[in-house]
């Protein structure tokens, strides 16, 4: 013990106990190039996709990163700002109206009988 103490007076190991790991309070989630990326840069498509996706939504408004840790309402309104208008067709496909198929129209008109004809 004493010998180790004496030794450490002359030499400080490079490996040190840093304490228990904790999740940082603030984390920057903006996209950066992957450390193993050969080009060390992100393709242009990353920025352009985000710009497009952010137009009417809260993308990139990360806080903690926990799945479901914040209610959707706290992410802010998803409606377009005052004076801004957009068509439903500009939204991602999952929000767009589905087209009626001929089979559906016939099903409605025939009271469902067309499905079993």
């Amino acid at each position: 013990m004493n010998a180790t103490k004496a030794l450490l007076q002359g030499r400080q190991p490079m490996i040190r106990f840093l304490g228990k790991r904790t999740t940082p309070a603030t984390i920057d989630h903006t996209p950066h190039a992957h450390p193993a990326s050969p080009t060390h840069s992100l393709p242009e498509s990353f920025a352009s996709y985000r710009q497009k996706a952010q137009q009417h939504g809260p993308l990139n408004q990360y806080s903690t990163g926990h799945v479901g840790s914040r209610p959707g309402a706290s992410l802010g309104p998803i409606e377009a700002g005052k004076g801004n208008f957009f068509d439903r067709s500009e939204l991602p496909r999952r929000f767009q109206r589905l087209a009626w198929t001929q089979a559906e129209i016939e099903a409605v008109e025939s009271g469902g009988a067309s499905q079993f004809a």
């Binding site: 190991p13 490079m14 990326s37 393709p43 991602p92 099903a107 469902g112």
Partner: protein, 508 residues
Amino acid sequence: MFRSVLPRAVPRAVRPVSQSTFCAPNIYFQNRLRRGYASEAEDKDLVIIGGGVAGYVAAIKAGQSGLKVACIEKRGSLGGTCLNVGCIPSKSLLNNSHLYHQILHDTKNRGIEVGDVKLNLGNMMKAKDTSVSGLTKGIEFLFKKNNVEYIKGTGAFKDEHTIAVNLIDGGETEVRAKNIFIATGSEATPFPGLTIDEKRVITSTGAIALQEVPKKMIVIGGGIIGLEMGSVWARLGAEVTVVEFMGQIGGPGMDAEIAKLTQKLLSKQGMKFKLNTKVTKGDDSSDVVSITTEAAKGGKEETLDADVVLVAIGRRPYTYGLGLDNIGLETDNRGRIEIDNEYRTKIPHIRSIGDVTFGPMLAHKAEEEGVAAVEYLTKGTGHVNYGAIPSVMYTHPEVAWVGQNEHELKAANVKYNVGSFPFSANSRAKTNLDTEGLVKFLSDAKTDRILGIHIVGPNAGEMIAEGTLAIEYGASSEDIARTSHAHPTLSEAFKEAAMATYDKAIHY
């Protein structure tokens, strides 16, 4: 009466609907014509396409983190290339072929007389299959234990949140997820002009399943896979010739001094090497497979014949049939999915991990990424140190390294110290009569911080773990040297090499 005749419960492909949307008041129409914008089935928190090392590790980690997770795998067994046709079966063959070779050639001087030693290749393959099936079933058990839904089928993107799955047992299904991981791995790169039949012209997949020992085998590519599989068949009696385009074996990461020594040791075991040689064409139309080679910088042509040609020129990312076009995801010029530092593709809820994206194609790198990507999802932060990922070649002796090699340090104009220690001066290696190889440290000339560790010798693959830990925590060679290592162990060679780096080794 009409109702009793009609099969009312027959599932019908309906548009995605939610309970809250319009329902026809007519009872007959209910559940048939509802329309809406959300899926009736609950979305998964995470769906992983690919049940290889990256995918299954991420799935288990996600299950442990309480996410509702599903993993889609088309092979029919989990574990991907590594467990089914890569690391694991090859290690079984390497271990057993080494035992066979040792019993044949290295028993007399140990005082062991053996009788007639015969190879039973069928049983050696069975032993390999037993190891593989035990491990893959083990992952299925871990899936159940951690509430991971295992979907056996081929997944393809239908849209940014929906995966259409072609089930192995027939039929189709769809899964929707808030987050999706692409972990579809890689496949062997074919050699132009040679048709892979996995019998005479083989990749690593065929190399672990040959029915008989070929008389002559040519290995195109002197990287880790080529040398490991070449070793197996050389030990079992094949005449193995390795043709490598570069001037050294082991690939670009292996330190040149270590590569040279390894080549010498493998040559002693009977393997032949043709370095700086390129294969210009191959012909598999006759009984023997022939390849034409010439010096990499141009020169005289030579034709080599073999019963089996192993194509081991590398691997390429596998995204075939994944439907990346359906969601507009692009790959780079080598087929890798482009990601950012949190494994996100340009579509932020779709991430990519493992061989299919950047970084070395190593199972342990994929595992790290599997955990880190899930942690980015659940905690917002993850960790993979790409500067501290070890590489191991499981020949005998093993070769292992982590960090940078001398060539890379010189290219980066970094001043460094070198220290090495041979296993021939290590007591345990001496008692094991297994003394070939050395441990080599490279540390920063000014700070003594370890920059690279390179080992060729017995147990190098296990020993490199200590080196990886040292690099991960920024240790100096003196830190290692002042840490007690048990005697007599091979790891003392590791400590002594560290001593030789900042001062002098005791036993050499």
